[in-house]
Structure formats: C-alpha cells, structure tokens
C-alpha cells in the first residue's frame, strides 16, 4: 500500500480531527469515538508508512483518543450516578470546539487580508523643500543603523516556514549504520529501516547512503512492485569486509 499524502493541508491533530468530523457529518458534541479513533490511527499509519515525521502532538492526541475509547468501553459500575459521570469525551470536544472557532476566525482574516492587499496606498509628493530633513532623522543615530542592520542580518527570512533542524547524520555515518544491520541479516526490507527514521532529511540521507552502497556494490536492491517496498540484499563477496569494519 503506498500513498501520496498531502500532509501540509492539516495544521495539526485537531485540524485533522475536524476534517473527519466535517467529512463524515459528525456531530461534534457526540463523536463516535471508536470510529474516529480508527480513522485517525489509519491516517497516522499512512504517515508512518510514508516515513514522514510524526509530530509529537499527533501521538499525544492518538493516546488521548485511545484513553477515551477505553473509558467509554468500561461498564460504569454505579448506574445510579451515571448521569453525573462526566462524558470521557468532554475534554476533547472542548478542545475541538475552541480550536474550530479560531480556525473560522483565521479564514475570515484571510479573506480580509486578500481584500486589503488589493488596495494600494495613494501617495502624492509634496514640494517639501522647506521641510527640514533633520526632523525626519531625529529619531535615529549612527548606532541605530548598525543595530538595525545587525538584526536584519540575523533574521534574514528563510524561504519556508518549516523549522529545519540541523541534522546530525551524514552519508558515511548512515552507511556505517546500514552496514551494521547486515551483520546478522542478508536481506533487509526498506520499511524495516525506515520505521526508525524521524525526519525527511534523515530519509534523504539514508537513500543517498543506500545509493552509495549500491554503487560500491555492497548491496543490491530488488523490488517486486512499482512503489512497493524494496529489499536490500547484501552482496556475498563483501561479507568479509563487513566483519572487518565492524
């Protein structure tokens, strides 16, 4: 099973849950927890299979969903008090309702932004020879210029909004890691390796490492179906080297 996932359309786990709620016309105050948990976990599963970085927040909400599900399955022992028992879903519902409000507001703001950016400030010059430019500059001195420039240099905008952390791994270390896996095995499924991969950079580096290893004939690669999982096969003649290196 392989998917192309457009993850960037969801702003987070709450956004994803709201998507399910809207899609399936679910009453937000009466969420079928089993169903939505199943949908949610399936989605996370796809994300994991795609080796996409699963933000901690997604996992947090998954465990919250499972906890609620368990609590709902537990038979309430005191039937008389059952009305007073809090619905296990309350907390989740409150979070979703609150988030949904601001999501709505942000789409309103988006519309206002679109409208406003269509309007341009009108500017007319003035024959302001008499206006003393010194007044204009009165608020800044030389040092301010330096400070402003320094700050700008430090904050040169990145081309994207994603916060990419420095990756500590590189191709040689990843090759070492992969080679170490072949000490005990001759064949490794790519998906076995990729489940340990935490972000895209690491995934790319791992791919490059694999390519390097194919190039140096340490391994060969086989794949049964297009877009399917693939196998990394150790070349026999390299066995000796591995043991040496390890």
């Amino acid at each position: 099973m392989s998917y192309k996932v457009k993850l960037d359309i969801f702003e987070g786990p709450l956004d994803l849950l709201l998507f399910f709620i809207k899609r399936d016309e679910i009453n937000i105050y009466d969420i079928p927890i089993s169903y939505i948990t199943k949908e949610y976990l399936e989605y996370l599963d796809v994300m994991t299979q795609m080796n996409l970085h699963l933000a901690g927040e997604f996992v947090n909400i998954a465990s919250l969903l499972i906890r609620i599900k368990v609590r709902m399955l537990l038979p309430s022992q005191q039937v008389e008090d059952s009305e007073e028992l809090e619905d296990p879903r309350t907390e989740l519902v409150q979070m979703l309702v609150e988030y949904r409000k601001y999501k709505e507001v942000s789409s309103i703001l988006k519309k206002i932004e679109d409208d406003q950016l269509n309007l341009y400030y009108v500017t007319a010059k003035t024959d302001n020879d008499e206006i003393d430019p010194d007044i204009f500059l009165s608020d800044i001195d030389l040092l301010d210029l330096g400070l402003i420039f320094n700050k700008l240099l430090k904050n040169i905008p990145k081309p994207s909004y994603y916060n990419i952390q420095d990756s500590k791994i590189n191709i040689p270390t990843q090759m070492q890691y992969l080679k170490s896996l072949f000490i005990e095995k001759k064949k490794i499924k790519f998906s076995e390796i990729s489940t340990h991969i935490e972000d895209r950079i690491e995934l790319i580096v791992t791919f490059l490492a694999i390519l390097e290893m194919i190039k140096s004939r340490f391994i060969t690669v086989s794949q049964k179906t297009i877009f399917g999982d693939f196998w990394l096969n150790k070349n026999k003649e390299e066995t000796f080297n591995v043991i040496q290196n390890s």
């Binding site: 998917y3 709450l14 927040e57 409000k101 507001v105 942000s106 932004e113 950016l117 400030y121």
Partner: protein, 191 residues
C-alpha cells in the same frame, strides 16, 4: 459643494504618509473640524466623479487607498512582488493572539494543538511582546500591533467579528450538511 476646509483635508490626506488623525488635522487647520463628515463628503465626491480612490478609516486615522476594481492593473505595476500573504499556520496563530491578547505561547499552542511560530508575525510587525505573564516560568505575553490594524484595514481591534458571530457562522455551516463526500487528501498512486 466642497468647502475650502474639505480641500485642505484632502490635500493633507494626499500628503500624509501615515493615517491622518483628528489631532493632526486640528493642528494643521487650527480650528475644530468634523473630520468624519468631511471624509464622507470627499468619498461621495470620489464616487460621483469616478475618481479611483477612497478614504478608509483605520487605526484611528484616515488614509487614501486605490479602489479595488483597479487592482488588476496596479498589480502589474508591482509585478505581484511584495504582497506575500500569511501562511495558514501564521494566520491561525494571529487569530488567537488577536482575540485572546495578551496571551502566552503555551496558551496559543494549547488551542492549536501544535507548537506555533511567532517569528514571522513578529518580523512582519503584526504582533509584539507585551510584557510577561505573572505565572510560573513568567512566559512572554503577545498582542497585536497598530500595524495589525493597518494590515487588515481595521479601525480598532473591536472591529474584528465578534466571537458570538463566529460561533453562529460555524452553526450555519454545520447545518449546511455537505452532500458531496469529501475525500481524504490521499491519492492511491498505484492507480
């Protein structure tokens, strides 16, 4: 008919580089004026004469802006540069700050369910720090700037839609049950 006072205010509006305030007009004219009425008259005149501008009230002042219908041509003048719009996540963060200010980052994150980045909003001067919360860890408090009002063409923060209105809007959307089932944004690429 537009008076001399109207014309002076109009000239000031053309010359101003920031929203023109009541106080500024009074200092310049040395008399009390009913700025709101003058603006109404001028806008009426621009409408009548089809002059491609309109006076807007924002952030406690008045500014001249071009009319929306000329945007397609003006846009070409700027070759679409400069108008970088806010990302979805930045807009969500900004929405929360606008309504809950002064607000801390943990509060914003709790509502969004994900960690939020303030950097872009701070850089764009849409939000600013408003001191620190007295609670544990003394987290920084954030609020919107006057440029925020200018950016969204608002006169005051009170001009944002009321939360009650927003909730009603959501209710309406709820009732409009979408008949076309939306697909999860997955595509089975093996097809």
């Amino acid at each position: 008919m537009l008076s001399k006072t109207h014309k002076i205010v109009e000239a000031l509006l053309f010359a101003a580089t920031e929203p023109l305030t009541m106080e500024q007009v009074e200092v310049c004219l040395e008399v009390d004026v009913n700025l709101k009425n003058i603006v109404l008259d001028l806008n009426y005149f621009y409408d009548e004469e089809e002059i491609p501008i309109k006076i807007h009230q924002i952030a406690d002042g008045f500014i001249l802006k071009t009319r929306e219908e000329y945007e397609p041509w003006i846009k070409r003048l700027y070759q679409e540069k400069g108008n970088v719009k806010l990302s979805k996540s930045a807009m969500e963060t900004l929405a929360i700050i606008a309504y809950k200010q002064p607000v801390t980052k943990p509060e914003i994150d709790a509502i969004r369910g994900v960690s939020s980045y303030m950097k872009t909003l701070l850089e764009k001067n849409l939000i600013e720090m408003k001191g620190r919360h007295e609670g544990p860890g003394r987290p920084l408090l954030y609020g919107t700037t006057s440029y925020f009002l200018e950016y969204f063409g608002l006169n005051s923060i009170k001009d944002l839609p009321k939360m009650q209105e927003v909730e009603e809007l959501i209710k309406e959307n709820d009732n409009e049950n979408p008949t076309v089932p939306q697909e999860l944004p997955f595509q089975d690429s093996s097809e």
